[in-house]
């Protein structure tokens, strides 16, 4: 399968031409991704086993605690949270993005972004968007089955605004996750080997985003501090919204702050890209 699609000459310059270009990349990437269906279906099924372990663990914890709630969470809510965090991560996780960028820089293939009318940030965004669509569509059935099996743990909110807010938070989570990983990958312009650093960031992010357990469970000041960081939007925030644990005001504030983070990271990415490419062409031939 060819990896680089050849682009026909676009005679319509400007925004419309650019949009068509990235849409084409989106389509090609989508086809490529769907080719690995079976391999990936197995991965999805296997990914649910740790969830079963978590359900069992938290059941044991609540049994031992002798109380119905821990930091305001009932057992059902914690279990529902753990499944919902999977959904959040489905949108916001960007496996291989940062390391892929670093590798392209190291191997020099990033130079095509200097010659071709292609922007790295937008190109990879289209590519990732396609991957996500394919991933979500093919995960839909396993997740639907899982939600049906675990229906008893869920108490869905009736307010339609909350559902809209959930969708918004998931989409913003995708954007935030992308911009974060993208900026990390650009470190490749300044450091030769960043894979260990990426592992470290991923591990820290796993914890800070609330993937391990609801951030509130850390209690008091710790929880408040963790909710100031942008990582919570990758997993915790969308789950908290759809669990009905956030008021309209806090949802609005959260989404707004998230947009702020996205903007900040977008600007950081563009600056890093400009300075990085300049530094790169200073070395290259």
């Amino acid at each position: 399968m060819s990896s680089v699609p050849s682009l026909p000459a676009f005679r319509t310059p400007g925004a419309w031409g650019a949009a068509r270009k990235y849409l084409r990349i989106f389509r090609v990437s989508l086809v490529e991704r769907l080719a690995y269906r079976a391999d990936f279906l197995l991965g999805t099924v296997l990914r649910f086993l740790p969830l079963v372990t978590s359900v069992l663990l938290w059941s044991a914890v609540y049994r031992g605690s002798g109380s119905d709630t821990i930091e305001g969470y009932t057992r059902s809510q914690v279990i529902a949270y753990l499944l919902l965090v999977h959904v959040s991560r489905m949108f916001s996780s960007m496996p291989g993005l940062a390391s892929g960028i670093a590798r392209e820089i190291r191997e020099g293939t990033v130079k095509r972004y200097l010659v071709q009318p292609l922007d790295l940030q937008a190109h990879l965004l289209a590519y990732r968007a396609a991957h996500k669509v394919a991933y979500i569509v093919t995960s839909a059935v396993p997740y639907a089955i899982l939600f049906w099996l675990m229906g008893g743990y869920f108490d869905w909110p009736g307010d339609p605004l909350v559902w809209v807010a959930w969708l918004a938070s998931l989409l913003l989570g995708f954007l935030l996750g992308y911009l974060m990983e993208f900026s990390l990958g650009l470190l490749g312009f300044w450091f030769l080997e960043i894979s260990s650093f990426l592992y470290l960031v991923n591990t820290v992010s796993f914890f800070l985003s609330g993937h391990l357990m609801p951030l509130d469970l850390f209690g008091g000041r710790m929880a408040m501090f963790l909710k100031e960081l942008p990582f919570q939007y990758l997993a915790y925030f969308p789950a908290s919204v759809i669990l009905g644990r956030e008021s309209h005001e806090s949802i609005a504030r959260g989404l707004l702050v998230e947009c702020g983070w996205c903007l900040a990271l977008f600007i950081l990415g563009r600056l890093a890209l400009r300075f990085g490419l300049r530094r790169f062409s200073a070395f290259g031939g």
């Binding site: 391999d39 086993l49 372990t53 930091e71």
Partner: protein, 277 residues
């Protein structure tokens, strides 16, 4: 055909000397990239921090998990961290790289050596960045035992060591089987994912699988792929009541898995040898 010289036999002593050489060579290599090494050690410290914070949060809200009290659970946690460290130090890197060796054809180079291939391919790199985990895990176990205040009898220690070695054997065998499949399958990205899965099964006491709906899962991962036994049984031997039957099964499972993994590995190497010529 890639073959071996006949008539060369290695004594056990030379295997230990080789292991020492692998360790020294790996350490030298690691020290050449000191920044990277420190970053990896930092990663393990962060992981420990996460585990301890999780442990602390749970025991802030409960006094027991399925009968395990706080310091018994701390012992379990130390045992898990140490065992994970041991597997990662000795075997994980080698098993992951095995797929790369198959793909590039460099495996031939290792098959030419007059030494058992499984030994060579399993032990050739020692990952020193995860080695501190063994000591830290040991310290956690010691701390837990001290806080528990119960006498540590020779029987318990013996049971612990026997179960621990069996657990290590099971985890190693699992990795070896996964690595061997790289010879037949082209894409091997799933090795790390499957190892993560295995380690997430051994991360908690097997008592939590007592729920009625989880019985099938408990049976599968106790008798078919004994991931649940790896950390739980040694910890139970030391700090809780352990039925002798489970200890016997743990040892048998360890031996069976070692034999099965060696058989699969040799089959894979045979099929690799017959493919390249």
């Amino acid at each position: 055909m890639v073959g071996k010289e006949p008539g060369i036999r290695r004594g056990l002593g030379s295997y230990f000397r080789l292991l020492g050489a692998f360790g020294r060579f790996s350490l030298n290599r690691e020290m050449a990239f000191r920044g990277n090494f420190l970053m990896k050690v930092l990663l393990e410290v962060v992981w420990l921090g996460i585990l301890l914070l999780f442990f602390h949060t749970i025991f802030r809200n409960t006094s027991r998990i399925e009968g395990w009290n706080e310091y018994q659970y701390l012992f379990f946690l130390g045992c898990y961290y140490a065992l994970e460290g041991l597997i990662e130090t000795l075997f994980l890197e080698n098993c992951v790289e095995f797929g790369e060796l198959v793909r590039t054809g460099n495996l031939d180079f290792f098959l030419l050596k007059p030494i058992d291939e499984q030994f060579l391919l399993s032990f050739r790199h020692i990952d020193w960045s995860t080695a501190p985990k063994i000591l830290i895990g040991g310290a956690l176990m010691g701390f837990g035992l001290w806080k528990l205040g119960e006498p540590v009898t020779a029987v318990r220690v013996a049971g612990f060591l026997v179960a621990l070695i069996s657990g290590i054997a099971m985890a190693y065998s699992f990795l070896l089987i996964l690595a061997s499949t790289a010879i037949w399958m082209v894409r091997n990205q799933s090795l790390m994912e499957l190892w993560w899965l295995f380690s997430s099964l051994m991360r908690y006491p097997r008592d939590i699988y007592e729920e009625p709906w989880a019985v099938l899962i408990q049976k599968v991962f106790t008798f078919l792929l004994p991931a649940l036994l790896v950390v739980s049984v040694p910890a139970e031997a030391m700090v809780r009541m352990l039925e002798p039957a489970i200890l016997v099964w743990t040892v048998c499972a360890g031996v069976l898995m070692l034999l099965a993994s060696r058989w699969i590995f040799r089959k894979a190497i045979r099929s690799y040898r017959s493919a390249s010529s």
